[in-house]
């Protein structure tokens, strides 16, 4: 063990306190100090980080082709301030399917009237799970309702604009978000330039005590899909009207984290309910509903345990409803890595059940920017 170095040879310490004059230093700042190692050559580089997500699966699931062991994603992030008016964030995701820009957007931070504008490719602000990157998830997978109704792992992620407005009022934190997307994602598929996808979200947040808070949201998404093309092959593509999809979701989160023991205790309770309405040919539609409830509790400095209950209809056949339950436990060696085990039971609408054991290693290097709460 080594004591602190550098406590010798400092002028202030060599003078016995009784002989010290009043300790006012001059108004001048202390002598210049050496810049941190390597800082001068890298000062304008963006914050760079790489996050690896390795997932293993054991057990049976007739509907899953997830391999037994896989580096499912490597996320490389580059984040920096562009100029006095904006910052930029790029997230590149490399997976067995290839390399893609998961997100890449500029955020204009200095707009008037409490506005915040993002332009680029983004994960849409629909609900709580869709905006999250894989490494931010409290579980090794995404809820069934996300898989069935909101585009699965890729989710609602598209090129577009996101404008959010902070509605100052004395009661709650209230934020309204309006987004316009090209309509090219796992959820929406636009057949032409003029048909876009739209997402809206209203979020209300309030501190209940200094250590607890409630977070409520309502989200709406509307956009074209390519369902009609598959069902009307004999009609010229230009004459095929668009079959739209609507998604409506509400979410509620309760958090408890006692400030004096914030390092050791935390409780998150969350539910998200999503309704989907997919138009079908012949004036028909499929209306699906799905939801999950999740509880996560930190019971020691580096340990979390939780449970998630799932239920969701299928997007094109609302008569088919899958259900599931997961139990998970996460160990954080440090804030830069986590090891998670999860037992997942899924009861598929066809009457088949899957029991799986998932384990996940999540690890990051570099400087990864803070995520918003």
């Amino acid at each position: 063990m080594k004591g602190l170095s550098g406590t010798d040879g400092r002028g202030e310490l060599q003078v016995p306190p009784a002989q010290q004059p009043p300790t006012q230093p001059p108004d001048q700042p202390p002598p210049p100090q050496a810049p941190p190692a390597g800082l001068s050559s890298k000062v304008f580089n963006p914050d760079m980080s790489v996050i690896g997500n390795f997932v293993g699966v054991a057990g049976k699931n007739a509907f899953s082709d997830q391999p037994s062991l896989q580096l499912t994603e490597v996320e490389a992030a580059f984040q920096a301030i562009v100029d006095p008016y904006a910052r930029a964030d790029f997230f590149l995701a490399a997976s067995p399917e290839g390399l893609e820009v998961e997100e890449g957007f500029i955020t204009f931070t200095s707009l008037p009237k409490n506005l915040l504008l993002k332009v680029g490719k983004m994960r849409a602000q629909f609900g709580k799970v869709n905006p999250l990157h894989t490494h931010q998830m409290p579980t090794a997978d995404r809820p069934l309702v996300t898989q069935n109704l909101v585009g699965g792992e890729e989710g609602l992620s598209d090129a577009g604009l996101s404008l959010s407005y902070l509605l100052h009022n004395p009661v709650v934190f209230l934020e309204a978000i309006g987004e316009v997307y090209r309509g090219e994602s796992e959820v929406f598929q636009s057949p032409q330039r003029s048909k876009l996808a739209y997402v809206g979200r209203l979020r209300a947040y309030r501190d209940l005590t200094e250590g607890s808070n409630i977070d409520l949201g309502a989200s709406f998404a509307f956009g074209p899909t390519d369902v009609a093309f598959a069902s009307l092959p004999e009609v010229p593509e230009t004459d095929v009207p668009t079959l739209n999809k609507r998604l409506f979701g509400i979410d509620a989160t309760f958090r408890y984290r006692p400030l004096r023991r914030a390092i050791y205790r935390r409780l998150n309770l969350r539910t998200e309910l999503i309704w989907s309405r997919q138009e079908l040919p012949d004036d028909l539609h499929a209306a699906g509903f799905g939801a999950y409830g999740l509880a996560e509790y930190q019971f020691a400095r580096r340990w979390y345990a939780g449970v998630r209950a799932d239920r969701s209809a299928r997007v094109l056949d609302d008569a088919l409803v899958d259900t599931g339950v997961s139990f998970f436990m996460t160990f954080w060696p440090t804030e830069f890595s986590q090891i998670r085990g999860q037992f997942r039971r899924t009861n598929f609408a066809e009457g088949i059940s899957g029991n799986e054991l998932l384990f996940q290693f999540n690890f990051s290097i570099g400087a990864h920017g803070a995520h918003i709460f």
């Binding site: 004591g3 009043p22 006012q24 202390p30 100090q33 190692a37 009609v235 958090r255 390092i263």
Partner: protein, 329 residues
């Protein structure tokens, strides 16, 4: 033809879609109405948001009644582990001045708040953004290759620099200069407030120096590397930490080594911040026949530490009392 019939039906459906979108109008109206609820704001006082209660206290000392001051992190919570809550976004969005500790202490939460604040005045580089560390004396700036193998190390040096009254004075000077820049008409007021604080701090420093003088050179252990400025200022030697590396929980081997080192050197005191569990430090203290002392690392860390001067008053008194009990001096 079935396909064409389907086309007609879907055209009608598109019309209905447009109509149904109008059903959202009342909800949108409510949102806009809530957005225009008048929010009471201070008349002319500058709104200062400080990331910690220490900086908030110093801003109050200098700003007096010409500023309103809000602190984000509480003094009894770990300033590394603060949630970037939306309620903080509201505070930052209304700030004229944002004062940060800097040196990456708030790296895990402040950047997200600043980006979401929509407040151009306090963006990094803007006039309202103040890094309080710019003129202070920083210790433990790493040299050479820095990696996470060193734990949660701060590449720009130890950020707990406010725990030296000399640095507190420098922070107050920096805040005074910023307030003068933003409200030049109040220069004389801020100068007078600073001079008064400086005088009271100097008097208190003489008292603290006298109190701590008998214990100069005493060796102690601390939990985290929160105290280098404080211990250097009062001449105490930190010979080890309960954490093997910053932010890393202690494995048994490290605890055994630490106990051995404390026994060999006769170290009897472990200083702990109020947000750490006392279980491990107490077990170590029991082994060495010593004691654990909880000190306040920040204003508000204990109820007696009501402002920046009272923070040192409390810590010095408690530390001297513990050292007297241990050493008999």
């Amino acid at each position: 033809m079935k396909g064409m019939k389907g086309v007609k039906n879907m055209k009608k459906k598109e019309d209905r879609n447009r109509m149904s979108q109008w059903a959202l109008a009342p909800a949108i109206g409510l949102v806009i109405a809530l957005g225009y609820v008048p929010v009471s704001r201070g008349a002319a006082a500058l709104k200062v948001v400080a990331t910690t209660e220490d900086l908030a206290s110093l801003a109050r000392e200098v700003g007096g009644d010409r500023v309103t001051v809000v602190a984000l992190a509480k003094g009894y919570q770990d300033p590394h582990q603060v949630d970037p809550k939306p309620s903080f976004i509201l505070e930052v969005s209304r700030a004229d001045v944002l004062i940060a500790v800097g040196r990456e202490l708030e790296i895990g939460w402040l950047p997200a708040l600043i980006t979401s604040s929509r407040n151009s005045k306090i963006q990094p580089g803007a006039n309202g953004y103040l890094d309080a560390s710019q003129n202070v004396r920083i210790l433990e700036i790493p040299t050479g290759q820095i990696t996470r193998a060193m734990g949660d190390v701060h590449p720009q040096g130890n950020p707990h620099y406010w725990l030296d009254p000399a640095n507190g004075r420098r922070i107050a000077q920096t805040i005074r200069d910023k307030l003068v820049q933003l409200a030049p008409a109040d220069r004389a007021y801020f100068d007078q407030r600073y001079a008064d604080f400086d005088k009271r701090l100097a008097a208190a420093e003489q008292r603290w120096n006298a109190t701590m003088a008998p214990y100069k050179g005493t060796e102690i252990v601390t939990y985290h590397r929160s105290w280098p400025n404080f211990m250097e200022r009062f001449g105490l030697q930190v010979i080890g930490y309960v954490e093997p590396k910053p932010g890393i929980p202690a494995p048994p081997a490290h605890i055994i080594d630490l106990i051995g080192e404390m026994k060999r050197r006769g170290v009897k005191l472990i200083v702990v911040e109020p947000y750490w569990s006392l279980k491990t430090p107490q077990a170590i203290a029991n082994q060495v026949g010593g004691r654990v002392l909880v000190l306040a690392p920040s204003v508000g860390g204990v109820k007696e530490a009501t402002d920046y001067i009272q923070l040192f008053e409390y810590d010095v008194t408690q530390l001297a009392s513990a050292l007297k009990q241990i050493s008999g001096k």
